[in-house]
């Protein structure tokens, strides 16, 4: 789950990491009031896409009037497909130098990894390898003073800024652990006189740890309405922009089914992994989600293991009898109770395939002509 900048900064502030003074506003008048309090301000569109600055989502204002005017423009803007619904209004801070700092997961090492650079303000991918400090963190040890000393030394910090840097690293790792983060990123981390200030925040929290989020952790819903509905019935669903609705059982086989559709020249409407061993009622609900997206055809690819082919077939009978199925359905059934499933489907006039090649080719053909 990605948090908005202002949410990440609230978490930072709550855990002793310095951020610029500021408040979040939902409209130009609120922006005016905050600017009247803070003086020279920065207005930052609260959207979850990267490259916000280049896209025009960040503006500077010298006066409350200017702030209100710029805010009115920003609230209307579409940034890479995201609409600005909130602005973070912050006091403009002195910037002596910009650094980059993040802690994220390294799947290969199975450990958190700290990435830092004395060149902040730009994408870390654009910073040359040799000027990046990269150090793994042993989760059994955490971030100790010597770790901080080494990072701060390599960033070339000195004096009070070095002290603040070491302290910040300790706190940032605490945030990373405490909030079950996948990523905490500060870019830029600003040297402002003798202080270190987090001028931006990117905080991604592990959805799976929701059962233990600290009290007050904000929740951001990233799923579309349909994805949310699918999630509620225990189905993994991603909306895409084609016209062939897809259901398969297993993430890998579902991805492969989409690939096969594209191989035959079709475009999938969605990714739907209906999981293993679902009963016919849950499967029926999943089918209804597919129908609701108004595809030209539904392609089902079941390799039955735990999933029984007859249960899948019964789900189609169930939907046919209740809501009806207004689009053609192409089904590949293979594995456990395959023959029974094929017979049941034949009973409601749906022809099954045992080879995914033939099924996919057929679905693409239907989508193309209809």
């Amino acid at each position: 789950m990605k948090l908005f900048e202002y949410m990440g900064k609230e978490i930072f502030a709550h855990n002793g990491i310095k951020v610029p003074p500021g408040k979040v506003a939902a409209g130009p008048d609120e922006v005016y009031a905050i600017a009247a309090e803070l003086g020279e301000v920065v207005l930052k569109s609260q959207v979850l896409s990267g490259g916000r600055g280049k896209a025009g989502g960040i503006k500077f204002a010298d006066s409350p009037d200017e702030a209100r005017k710029l805010a009115a423009e920003l609230f209307g803007t579409d940034l890479k497909g995201f609409k600005t619904e909130a602005l973070l209004v912050e006091k403009k801070i002195r910037i002596d130098k910009e650094l980059y700092l993040s802690i994220t997961l390294d799947g290969s090492a199975r450990k958190p990894v700290l990435i830092a650079s004395a060149s902040g303000g730009m994408d870390i991918e654009e910073v040359p390898e040799e000027s990046i400090v990269k150090k793994h963190i042993d989760p059994e040890v955490g971030v100790m003073p010597h770790f901080c000393r080494e990072v701060v030394r390599r960033l070339g910090l000195a004096g009070n800024v070095a002290k603040e840097g070491a302290d910040l690293l300790t706190k940032l790792y605490q945030v990373f652990k405490k909030y079950d983060c996948e990523l905490v990123e500060i870019n830029p981390l600003v040297i402002s006189g003798e202080e270190l200030i987090a001028a931006d925040s990117k905080v991604n929290i592990d959805d799976e740890a929701r059962f233990r989020y600290p009290a007050g952790t904000p929740i951001v819903e990233e799923r579309t309405a349909l994805e949310k509905k699918a999630h509620e019935i225990g189905v993994s669903y991603v909306e895409l922009d084609g016209n062939i609705a897809v259901m398969a059982n297993g993430a890998g086989i579902t991805m492969a089914t989409l690939d096969i559709i594209e191989h035959f020249g079709g475009k999938p409407r969605n990714f739907m992994d209906a999981g293993g061993g679902a009963d016919s009622e849950a499967t029926a609900q999943a089918i209804e989600i597919l129908i609701s997206t108004e595809p030209k055809v539904i392609l089902v690819n079941i390799f039955g293991g735990i999933t029984r082919c007859d249960e899948v077939a019964r789900a189609f009978v169930r939907v046919r009898e209740s809501a009806g199925i207004p689009v053609p359905v192409v089904i590949r059934l293979s594995g456990t109770n395959e023959d029974e499933g094929i017979a049941i489907l034949r009973g409601i006039g749906i022809e099954s395939y045992s080879d995914v090649r033939e099924a996919a080719a057929k679905a693409v053909e239907i989508a193309a002509v209809s």
């Binding site: 997961l105 799947g107 290969s108 199975r110 450990k111 958190p112 991918e125 042993d138 989760p139 059994e140 652990k177 079950d180 996948e182 592990d206 799976e208 740890a209 059962f211 233990r212 993994s236 991603v238 895409l240 398969a248 059982n249 297993g250 993430a251 890998g252 086989i253 579902t254 991805m255 492969a256 989409l258 690939d259 096969i260 559709i261 594209e262 191989h263 999938p268 990714f271 992994d273 293993g276 390799f303 039955g304 293991g305 735990i306 293979s334 594995g335 456990t336 995914v356 090649r357």
Partner: protein
């Protein structure tokens, strides 16, 4: 031979009295796995399919030893269950459970690495050495004993491929699922090294997918292997920034793309199947 598990492996089922635990214990017993016990706190003394249930791993260990444990445990309790096994001396842990927090997974893997413990998963279908031992949730009927090792990030896709190999007369030495999460216990390299050293294995099928850099890292090792490797990757058509079912199957910041992985694998000498049904053909050619 085979890798990690064989007919001598004594298996403990943790969470044996839950629905999943009961069902798959019966399936594994049917397959012939040597299930010597189950654990379910407060249910000690019961039986599931003739298998004795213990209150704790320590009890099961004392009753007759455990080589491998398989976890059918809700995600929030997986860390505790994994440590219960590890702290009581179990040397192979198979975590079927999906939705385990990544920080818990990292804690488990750090401890396991220190103590030389093999962790399969989380979010895996498990592993099987056909005809010898099955630990996991894969269907019993699709595997045949043989000389092909399969290592996969995803379940059903590997079933499909194993099935097509069996149909083509190519049995398997061991089939293993790494797990679909971002933090899992075994890497492709860990498994490829074992297959390379296994006298019974003649060739390996690697079933990968988009996201992370597991396939890229594996490529370095594949270029040094003596045994042929056939690879298939899922997710060619996946858009960036979307998790395709698996927590780990996501293209982020330009990393983990299909094309990058295909290039790395091809460069290492692996035979890359563009479509799943090409795998048996490529394997026949490579052998």
């Amino acid at each position: 031979m085979a890798i990690i598990i064989d007919e001598s492996t004594r298996v403990l089922v943790q969470g044996i009295t839950g629905n999943q635990g009961r069902f798959h214990t019966r399936q594994m017993l049917e397959y012939g796995s040597n299930i010597t016990g189950g654990v379910s706190p407060g249910k000690g003394g019961q039986e599931v399919g003739g298998v004795p249930v213990y209150n704790t791993v320590a009890e099961a260990m004392a009753a007759g030893g455990v080589d491998a444990a398989v976890l059918f445990i809700p995600a929030p309790a997986v860390k505790d269950a994994a440590f219960e096994n590890m702290e009581n001396g179990v040397k192979t842990i198979v975590i079927i459970t999906e939705h385990v927090p990544v920080h818990d997974a990292m804690d488990i893997m750090a401890y396991a690495a220190d103590k030389g413990i093999t962790v399969v998963g989380p979010n895996t279908f498990g592993l099987i050495s056909p005809g010898k031992c099955k630990i996991g949730i894969m269907p019993n009927q699709i595997y045949k004993p043989g000389t092909i090792g399969i290592v996969a990030r995803s379940g059903t896709l590997s079933y499909e491929i194993a099935n097509s190999l069996s149909a083509a007369g190519m049995g398997q030495s061991t089939v293993i699922g790494l797990g679909g999460d971002r933090i899992v216990g075994l890497s492709f390299v860990d498994v490829l090294e074992r297959f390379e050293a296994d006298a019974e294995t003649e060739a390996v099928v690697l079933v990968g997918e988009i996201g992370g850099n597991a396939e890229e890292v594996a490529s370095d090792y594949i270029s040094k292997m003596t045994k042929p490797v056939v690879a298939f990757l899922a997710g060619k058509s996946a858009p960036p920034g979307k998790r395709m079912g698996h927590a780990g199957a996501i293209i982020e910041r330009g990393m983990g793309t299909y094309d990058g992985k295909v290039a790395a694998l091809s460069g290492s000498g692996a035979h890359v199947a563009r479509l799943p049904w090409e795998v048996p053909e490529l394997l026949k050619k490579a052998l």
